[in-house]
Amino acid sequence: MDEEKKPEGVAAPETEQPKSEPPASPVEATAPAEATPAEPEKPASAVTPEKAAKPAAAAKPAAEPGAEKPAAKPAPKKEPTEMEAEPWAGPLVDSLKARFGDKIQQFATYREQAFLIADTAAVIPILDFLKLEEDFDYLVDITAVDYPKKEKRFEVVWILYSFAKNVRIRVKAVVGEGEKPVTACTVHKAADWLEREVFDMFGIEFEGHPNMTRILLPEDWKGYPLRKEYSIIQQDQDWVRENLQIESGQ
């Protein structure tokens, strides 16, 4: 919501800063929000506007802050270089911590939306635990984000909702090129197509998926369009030539 007027050139998406990893050093936080003392409770949801924003530096997550990321660059004040996530605590966090310990690196909220970052191998047990013990019985979405400059380039996101609690949370895991997260089909049937779409767009394969094939693009298409290096006008020339009998689909 910054107010500066000069239109900056369209920032190439690759100039991305490390983000959403462990909340790193409190260098960045300057946002002049009203500082509520760290009494975070379970955030209700996306749209419940009851909690005021709290500055990120106020508190580190009570959990393990994880490795110290090299804080991108000493940020010019006011322009945070990381997501100003706040710690997330509450009964749900406690029970997850008790069960999974350091397999979950971070519990945080941003814009009153809760998320956690976990080991890729622990995601399915977490989804299972959340479904059976904590009523998160609705898998809303699975998607991924590509950060090509990071050591492990993908961040896979599972969005969950609990009808009983009316709470939405996100489970995130960092996945490297060629790594295969385990399918969630065994826990939520909805995962089937959603994982196929992630595979289709990013090339992330899910271990144990019953039908790990492309879903939106043609089966024999080459390339994964939502990877950052895939240009907006790029296409599978050979496929277009062969199947559409034209030189270019553009």
């Binding site: 107010e3 959403s20 996306a46 749209v47 997501m83 941003y110 984000v145 909805a190 907006i232």
Partner: protein, 371 residues
């Protein structure tokens, strides 16, 4: 196994329905595995309308991308735009003025009526009831006229902007809405007279394509399909946005989760939408229609998932911002795509003719399935 076949053999038959088929409402191909007339299983082949909307989003500014979302679910373009604007506003921490919120509710509910009307007309047509489609399009025309008067466009309206609205309402907007609601509720009675107790209609829809609450949750199915299975869940009530908590309305539900119940739920939603529109028009506050948004909209680094109750179910936008003018990643959680996944479960054991009814009853728009 058997190498020689006679006409008495009962072999399984694989049959393609679509990609061009009148009842698939777009380009959807369903591969049916049949035993005689019984469906043993189905597989959907989708992607014919894939345009890479999520990729386009990464290459446009937030404002530039807004018109694109209208092209996903093009029969409910207003809902798409609302979801997108809300997500961007949450991400950017923008307050929307009351008047804008109220107008948003009115237009979104009008669009819900238009979307359900298109569903009802074509669904009934698929099953063989010719008349409703003419009625439905007649009424839908009135909704589209209001849109046209409001913003000049009828289908892909792009009526909302990040932060509020682009246009003030026109002079007789309130009156038009009231006139429409009064007139329309009588029309709903007409549809019900035609169908609700119609023996053919009941015969073709009752007990067809049952999806119970458990299965709905497992498949992530939302919207009228979920409510017809008895789950009283509507995002407008569960997690109100745009001031929906101020309006008095009910969440219609049924119990059996079959095609007939989904019909009843949507018919009841017509009335509820009209009820909301009346209240919103009566309480339309005066004031500005757009919040403070800088011309160069740059939300801070962060991410947000915001979803709304679109006519077809939960429509969500997950936006990741890297602090630039373009979304770093934008994911659309389309209700049609997720709901269509349950088609196989609903079709097993049904007759071929029922598949037509079941595709209709899920209420999909292929533009949204394929994006």
């Amino acid at each position: 196994m058997a190498t020689h076949t006679t006409f008495l053999d009962t072999n399984e038959l694989v049959l393609n329905m679509g990609p061009q088929h009148p009842s698939t409402h777009g380009v959807l191909r369903v591969i049916l595995k049949l035993d005689g007339e019984r469906v043993l299983g189905t597989e959907c082949v989708i992607g014919y309308l894939h345009r890479g909307v999520e990729k386009i989003a990464e290459n446009r500014t937030y404002q530039q991308f807004a018109p694109y979302v209208d092209r996903m679910d093009y029969v409910a373009a207003v809902s798409n735009g609302l979801g997108y604007c809300l997500a961007a506003e949450v991400l950017g921490g923008i307050e929307v003025p009351e008047r804008a919120q109220c107008v948003r509710v009115i237009l979104t509910e009008l669009n819900r009526i238009a979307s359900h009307l298109l569903w009802l007309g074509t669904h009934a047509l698929d099953i063989g009831a010719m008349t409703p489609v003419f009625y439905c399009f007649r009424e839908r025309e009135e909704v589209l006229k209001i849109f046209e008067k409001y913003c000049g466009a009828r289908l892909t309206t792009h009526s909302f902007r990040i932060g509020g609205l682009q246009y003030e309402t026109y002079d007789n907007f309130e009156k038009d809405c009231h006139t429409f609601c009064d007139w329309f509720e009588k029309k709903v009675d007409e549809y019900e007279e035609l169908l609700t107790t119609n023996r053919i209609w009941v015969g073709r829809t009752k007990g067809v394509g049952i999806l119970d609450a458990e299965a709905c949750k497992a498949y992530g199915v939302t919207g009228p399909v979920l409510r017809a299975a008895g789950v009283e869940w509507d995002l407008r009530k569960a997690q109100p946005y745009c001031g929906y908590e101020k309006y008095d309305f009910d969440i219609p539900t049924c119990e059996n989760g079959d095609t007939y119940d989904r019909y009843l739920v949507r018919m009841a939603e017509f009335r509820q939408s009209a009820r909301i529109i009346r209240q919103a028009v009566d309480s339309l506050p005066s004031g500005p229609i757009k919040g403070k948004v800088s011309k160069v909209f740059k939300p801070p680094i962060g991410e947000a998932y915001v979803s709304i109750e679109a006519p077809k179910g939960e429509l969500g936008y997950y936006i990741v911002s890297d602090g630039s003018v373009q979304p770093y990643r934008l994911r659309v959680r389309p209700p049609s795509f997720v709901n269509l996944q349950a088609l196989d479960e609903m079709c097993r054991g049904a007759l071929i003719a029922d598949v037509v009814a079941i595709i209709g009853t899920i209420d999909i728009v292929l533009g949204e399935v394929d994006r």
